[in-house]
């Protein structure tokens, strides 16, 4: 890799909270705007363009929110685990801050996925909740997010909170596939539920398009929300520094 003469172009320049703070502030509105645009487009396609499903009627339209939220809930845990690992190995403060900032968004998407799944289940399966493999492992994922946030909130020493959370997130990352397959085999052992998502018919192109656009919109929302939250975390943790005092003085 060619070394840049100017310090400004080094990737590590932004690993300091002080220099990342303005960068996050500059990027955040763009991602937020993209999130609004993509979600609006996705919802428009979902509600007005996509055809009515032959089997499930109008109720299926909840997948435009449900599937994207479920994807994000799992993906964000991996991202959180990644930044936790980086923070633990390289001892970079910003990585841990990002992991902390990701957790509430991940928990939010997990909750949305469960909530919309329940709304979808009522008209199509006739029940609010079934002990289906995906629903159960999503519920356990929510517990893992809650555990991560509770652990970080309970520890007063900031560095210890970061590192303890990081160990927990990594343990969770190893466990997620184990939990998923356990629950999957468990629910196939209990044949009673007779609930299956896999028998869904092949999807119309507009449906798939709407779903992908919504998922992309959720991506943008996650990035925007995380950047906004990480800015708050930076200000809170660096409040004793001069640059934060100057920053707050400038804003008020």
């Amino acid at each position: 890799m060619a070394m840049s003469k100017s310090r400004r172009f080094s990737l590590y320049y932004f690993s300091s909270p002080q220099s990342f703070y303005p960068l996050a502030g500059a990027m955040q509105p763009w991602f937020a705007a993209l999130a609004v645009l993509l979600c609006a487009a996705g919802l428009y396609i979902g509600f007005f363009v996509a055809p009515t499903d032959a089997q499930q009627g109008e109720a299926y339209r909840i997948i435009f929110i449900h599937v994207g939220a479920a994807w994000m809930s799992m993906f964000l845990y991996l991202v959180m685990g990644f930044w936790s690992g980086v923070g633990l190995v390289l001892n970079t403060r910003l990585s841990s801050m990002v992991a902390t900032a990701l957790a509430p968004t991940g928990a939010l998407f997990t909750f949305i996925a469960l909530w919309t799944g329940s709304f979808w289940g009522k008209p199509t399966w006739g029940t609010w909740w079934a002990w289906d493999a995906r629903m159960t492992s999503e519920l356990i994922l929510l517990f893992l997010y809650v555990g991560f946030m509770a652990l970080q909130a309970a520890i007063d020493d900031q560095r210890r909170a970061d590192k303890a959370g990081a160990v927990l997130a990594l343990v969770g990352v190893i466990n997620i596939p184990i939990i998923y397959f356990s629950v999957k085999w468990w629910s196939t052992l209990h044949q009673g539920a007779s609930v299956s998502l896999t028998s869904a018919p092949t999807m119309a192109k507009t449906m798939l398009l709407g779903m992908l656009i919504m998922a992309l919109g959720f991506w943008m929302y996650s990035i925007a929300a995380t950047l906004a939250r990480v800015r708050c975390v930076i200000l809170e943790r660096e409040r004793h520094t001069e640059w934060v005092e100057a920053e707050i003085g400038r804003q008020t």
Binding site: L151, A154, A164
Partner: protein
């Protein structure tokens, strides 16, 4: 290394022997929780037989978790833990010793008394044997994973509730296949696959958990 392991084991067993009340309390808790279920759901033998694996396993999970608070906290208070961190022996080995002694004190008694409780639930003979083997394979995993949770919450306020929040979701696979093996034995489909998976969990947690636990202890004692 073996000597260090033996030292931790000997010390913890001696401490547990001197404070027998703690060991007995966890066991009595297990017995009481299991005995409450028939009172709650009614005494029909068929229903009880169906519930027995899950009830026994969930009660074992809770009993195991209750004693986690005592795993590192007393050593933390009297400074032994600091000496362990400073010792020349690898912390992973010492942590392994702590986990093994936790299992001997709070896991093994459950394994031994569970068949008796299974009889109260009208489980057939082969299911009782399967129950014992599944607990024998599963409870060490609980001790090992629990040790990570105990190390993470060491000295944190409200650590008793917090450790439950962290550890119980991670216990899910063990619960599924532990209770599943007994269910399979009752249904007559054989429990070998469940045992293999439980053994797999045990092997994985023996390799990974002491390592994560040692890292968590170092973080807690920084």
């Amino acid at each position: 290394m073996i000597r260090a392991l033996a030292w931790v084991l000997r010390r913890d067993m001696l401490l547990a022997f001197r404070r027998r009340g703690d060991v007995v309390n966890a066991l009595v808790f297990f017995v009481i929780v299991v005995s409450l279920f028939p009172l709650g759901v009614g005494p029909e033998p068929n229903q009880l037989r169906g519930m027995a694996p899950g009830v026994l396993w969930v009660a074992a999970l809770l009993a195991c978790m209750l004693s986690l608070a005592r795993l590192f906290a007393p050593d933390h208070q009297d400074g032994t833990l600091e000496q362990m961190l400073l010792a020349g022996e690898p912390l992973v080995v010492l942590v392994m010793g702590k986990a093994i002694s936790h299992w001997l004190v709070s896991g093994l008694p459950l394994v031994l008394i569970a068949p008796l409780l299974g009889l109260q639930f009208d489980l057939p003979g082969n299911a009782l044997a399967v129950l014992s083997v599944s607990l024998l394979l599963g409870t060490p995993v609980l001790s090992l994973i629990g040790a990570v949770g105990a190390a993470l919450t060491l000295g944190v306020r409200g650590s008793g509730v917090l450790v439950a929040l962290l550890v119980l979701p991670l216990f899910v696979p063990v619960l599924i296949f532990g209770a599943g093996s007994v269910g399979a034995a009752v249904a007559g489909t054989g429990a070998e696959a469940h045992f293999l998976l439980l053994g797999g969990f045990l092997a994985l947690s023996v390799v990974l958990a002491p390592w994560a636990c040692a890292a968590a202890l170092r973080i807690a004692m920084e």
